[in-house]
């Protein structure tokens, strides 16, 4: 029912009435069940098969092989510049964050640019300057790259792939030791599959800011106040939290938002998840925009937030440490893992309970 509203308002291009099994649609890149089916039924059928410690098949934030964390992320956000950020900041933060999400310290990035004929070189300079600034914030460097140009075709001027490597460090070792004080834990990394009943779930701040910013920029909406993207590198915050310890899983809720991330965790960890809607931080203007457009803010992507699964004994300590940071000042404990059921269940503001099904996709196209 919900999606019919989405179709009519903004998503007709993203969610065609029938999902063609014959051609690629925007939904195949929107981070929900349609994309996940494409990956499982097509990509994994041919690629993968490695003996990596965290292989392609894990579909986690990053892979791990030979103790090296490896991640690749293409960024096709449209428009290139938006309130709070741009494609350059997104490209650096996106990959740095995915490396940090498995508990690793980012070591180096690559930068593969697809430029569209006609892109003003001044725009390219702005993007590169923003990448430079974001790299400095994150404390990483671009060490290799590649540039390709394609004919003017209106895809938006620039697509950037950043890949990167990361490594274990003392903070991760300390974190794992702390987890082991409280329960058995046989993982060497912070993974989607590590959640166990009783673990507390924390989000670092307000949900949906990035996606609603991009939607506003794409459609020319004006929601009265300036909604800004949250795009930011989170590796320094993550290192601080790992030093506190007790974290078992982390995820940056990008495409498909919090709802997609929680459903992935529930599936991969084989636990139920209970979330209290009233605890999920939301900006008033984002909430209002979502109500107006018939969108669920929990299905809207973020680019500077982290979802954390932590052993219950350390939840308050992690929450306090997170709230001391600029990026985590609005952090909340939003729920916990449970063995009472196997789905993601939302306890709504009015006290009802509903299953939070995995989203078909992110209703905002090309947010990252």
């Amino acid at each position: 029912m919900h999606f019919l509203v989405v179709f009519k308002n903004v998503g007709s291009q993203l969610f065609p009435e029938e999902f063609s099994m014959e051609r690629i649609t925007m939904a195949h890149g929107a981070g929900g069940t349609v994309m996940s089916d494409l990956i499982k039924n097509h990509v994994l059928k041919h690629l993968g098969g490695s003996s990596a410690e965290v292989p392609l098949e894990a579909l986690d934030d990053s892979a791990v092989i030979d103790n090296i964390v490896l991640k690749s992320d293409s960024h096709a956000v449209k428009p290139l510049f938006f309130p709070g950020g741009d494609i350059g900041r997104l490209a650096v933060a996106g990959t740095v964050n995915d490396i940090a999400m498995v508990g690793a310290e980012p070591v180096a990035l690559t930068c593969g640019m697809i430029l569209e004929e006609g892109l003003p070189i001044a725009d390219l300079d702005r993007i590169l300057e923003s990448m430079e600034k974001t790299c400095k914030e994150a404390g990483v460097y671009v060490v290799t790259g590649d540039t390709k140009v394609v004919e003017k075709s209106g895809f938006g001027g620039c697509i950037i792939n950043t890949s990167g490597i990361g490594k274990r460090n003392e903070a991760l070792e300390k974190n794992i030791l702390e987890v082991k004080k409280h329960r058995t834990f046989d993982s060497r990394w912070v993974l989607d599959s590590n959640l166990r009943k009783g673990d507390k779930l924390i989000v670092s701040g307000t949900m949906g800011d990035h996606g609603i910013t991009i939607l506003s920029a794409q459609e020319g909406y004006n929601f009265g106040s300036q909604i800004k993207s949250d795009v930011t590198p989170l590796n320094n915050v993550v290192m601080k939290l790992l030093n506190v310890g007790g974290i078992v899983a982390m995820k940056d809720p990008t495409r498909g938002g919090l709802s997609n991330s929680l459903n992935e965790w529930s599936m991969k960890s084989k636990v139920g998840i209970m979330v209290q809607e009233s605890k999920v931080p939301l900006r008033g203007d984002v909430k209002a925009a979502c109500e107006m457009l018939g969108l669920d803010p929990l299905e809207i992507g973020n680019e500077g937030k982290v979802l954390i699964g932590v052993v219950p004994q350390k939840a308050e300590e992690i929450l306090s440490a997170l709230r001391e940071t600029k990026e985590g000042k609005d952090a909340q404990i939003i729920g916990e893992a449970t063995s009472n059921f196997s789905e993601v269940v939302l306890e709504t503001v009015v006290g009802g309970k509903r299953i939070m099904a995995p989203p078909i996709g992110d209703p905002v196209p090309r947010i990252c």
Copy 2:
């Protein structure tokens, strides 16, 4: 003079009469001096600055940091399928080869796909199947990936970024020991800057096959016989040659062809290079096609060939080992490094000498 011919025949889109300093043109992605200026004046101004062993600034085939070889390559070849290969084979071989070119053994790949709305899923399956097959040939796996979709805009259906990591192995150590028997050598890798006077230059086979294949496919030319792309992973051949030893530099002459690679070597190694035109292997049909179109086959890109710089004492041995392989059966010693001059000089078939200036770009757009 030569380039005026190129302009009129096929390159008007690639080489506009004036190189705009304000907007991106096709030449900015064509692997020659225009691209190199863009990278030096814009990309390096903002990115780089790392303390990596082989950093971004080296502009070598791959970077090296913490003993890990790291490479990123985006593939925007048009059309997606062509005689002898497809974008999937190209994406795997391209990155594997760049890792092998510094003397490393490829460990793992990433796959970041940009799909265009409307791409037939059957085409995606063909591409993935080809990646799978090429990965098997090279003995590597894709361990992580990312999928994005952009609206139908006519850029060609699919762009694939493959990044990858590689590591040192025994063959590289053995190769370096062998070099050190014959001259002082302080590099830990096989690099563009390692060439010294007297080193012999070998190419593994015929030049220009890939570029002319793509041009034929793009323009619907028919050159009487079937010219096929040479796209293939070279890492196994390279490992075999490193075990013979004596190699100081390697490069796969892709965009801008042999001419661009030799000029990069000359500049980075600060040596002159003498090449005998009569020794450069060329297919008859590629040569004829180039004559017809006013193109220089030495400026046309390859995807399955390696240019090797080797200490003179080992040149014949490397040549023999190379000729024993399927990929290197047409290998030739084509010239040597010299201190008599500082440019790349071609001794032509008729006995004249001319400076082989670095190409402005590859005259065939979107070959990789």
